[in-house]
Symmetry: C2
Subunit: 354 residues, 2 copies
Amino acid sequence: MHTGALIIRRDRPRGSGSDDRKLNPMAKSFVTSIDVAERAGVSRSAVSRTFTAGASVSPDVRQRVLKAAQELGYRVNRLAQTLNTSSSNLVGVVGANLSSPFIAKQLDMLSLGLLRRGQQCLLLNAADARSDIAPLIELIFEFRARAIVVLSGEPPASIVDECLANGVKLIVINRLMTRPDTDVILSDDILGARLAAERLLAARCRKVAVVCSGSLTPTQVRRATTFSDVVREHGGAVVRWSEGPTAYETGVAAAHALLADEQIDGAFCVTDLMALGFLDAARHDLQRSVPDDLSVIGFDDIPQSAWKAYDLTTVGQSFSVLTDAVLAALDHDDGEVSTQMVPVTLIERGTVHK
Amino acid sequence: MHTGALIIRRDRPRGSGSDDRKLNPMAKSFVTSIDVAERAGVSRSAVSRTFTAGASVSPDVRQRVLKAAQELGYRVNRLAQTLNTSSSNLVGVVGANLSSPFIAKQLDMLSLGLLRRGQQCLLLNAADARSDIAPLIELIFEFRARAIVVLSGEPPASIVDECLANGVKLIVINRLMTRPDTDVILSDDILGARLAAERLLAARCRKVAVVCSGSLTPTQVRRATTFSDVVREHGGAVVRWSEGPTAYETGVAAAHALLADEQIDGAFCVTDLMALGFLDAARHDLQRSVPDDLSVIGFDDIPQSAWKAYDLTTVGQSFSVLTDAVLAALDHDDGEVSTQMVPVTLIERGTVHK
DNA sequence: AACTCCGTTGCACACGTGTTCAATGTTGCA
DNA sequence: TGCAACATTGAACACGTGTGCAACGGAGTT
């Protein structure tokens, strides 16, 4: 009879727990190094040194401290640690559409890589690709993160200045920054678009469609214009679509709108996700036969593109190379800046003729 | 000519920046409230009060402080703030396979919900669904997070004890905890499996397959056994598969292995992702006609299941309800524990006969 | 035996913030 | 005018940690 959603059942198992691990039963706070020091009968410094690599502690004291810490369940307070040493292990990650396959895969590998390097990932979800990410980055500042990775959206110039002033590394993926003082990681859009165009031309396509989303990110624009230029250079005709979000449904809508023109015999979707929607609509709604009747190429090589129902020919960028590039940028010394280009390959599958 | 991966181009734009915003040019650290206080000609307390809601500051001082803070680019240090007030806004999130659609969607909505509530998301990627998440949770302890959300894996009892002792809220999704002192959020697996079984029986399936992954999570086991029981009650035969990770490829492998038996006319895959692989292999590798020849039902209703190429009939759980349940659990008072059940619905699409 | 050197140890400070407490100035009322 | 009530302000403490510095003791060397 609730408003519509879920059944709730409540319990409260322990009325007044007599926890023998805690000496002072009221305190709900964490164990501190003072507690450990008292129990081990040493000074607090000794505790700190025990948990600091390369510090000078006698084996005897070390063992006593470790034993006491184990018994009390002591964990170093990273906040106090960071406050003191002012070297945080936090890396802020900003992204939108976290459930879209491309971003999700990036986030998956990035968070894993950070963890393996002993860095922690503070994740901030920019709801919309169009939304302003400045407040999110300022939030990351408040946590004194030493680096910020931007997966979606473009940080305004004021934010870049602030990063520079505070010594925060700013790493931007697939967003063209006009300023040279930011780490940038780019997929080789120019080459990828050229490969796609040449492949469609080789399949003897004469009139091709280019499908972009309405949020004209620099990456999408670069792919689309390069592709168009190459096709036109070789005497082909190009029709362009730029509406809607970067989503499956946009590909569907584009197919419905563009394939009314039956002369179109090829399509380059600047994102695999849109390519899959385009492909589905072409096959199931519009009875186009791919690749006999129509050739389709995507970009990104998301996992779903390899699924048997699609078998999409696409321009692939290696996720592991992309992630390695981000991690490499994190290692740069202060002031050192790089622009890294992620190479691309044409992955031949079954959606292009011949 | 590099080992294989990426082209690097290096610059170092600003040799010795004369930054007029910082008075002491060497200091690369963040602006503190002391800096702001000096500039505004007030005490540090006034600065703190200006940024504390409900504190007593005169309009004049407040304006001077805000102006100075703006000019200097001051951001409150959340680490020091948390250290002092010992009430952190951090929420630890542990999950594996972050790029699998189901987890990615959960993470997307959860991180967005947390952000909207003014809480921050500390993301820890448990590489493998099988890997031990205890060290990750201990890492979260070190950041003094007030709550931990576990999307994958099962926290050992010692961790649960530790959470209890330290007043950390532990929220577990779709993992059956035998202990009653943890917040648990479960999808209604029993009902879902029953709905799937009844639907296949109504389609006159006589011999059905159940597809699980090799990582026998409580959720998967509950779905599979309930389904098997119901089918057998009605005189149907059941064949079960339990191998491999929870992935598309597992569905493919299951189809190849199980569909050699041509009598099988129905399948329940306990996860949509596996269902899509099963479906693809059945159609494209084994020339089975779905739904005429074979009926398939999944579970979770991930976005891809609605794509035209699949149009998968599945048992759906609402992601927004799931997320709301997590956020609701975060609001519980200390010691209050709940078990929330997420309702499920059979979503009729095109992969079941009749 | 005296001295130097080195490993250990504890004290004290610093990190940046919120908040209590007493002091100060200001207003309102009798 | 005198006094109380009140808003505002700054000094001081606490949060939990890492580390420089001086003190200490034992071992090795002359």
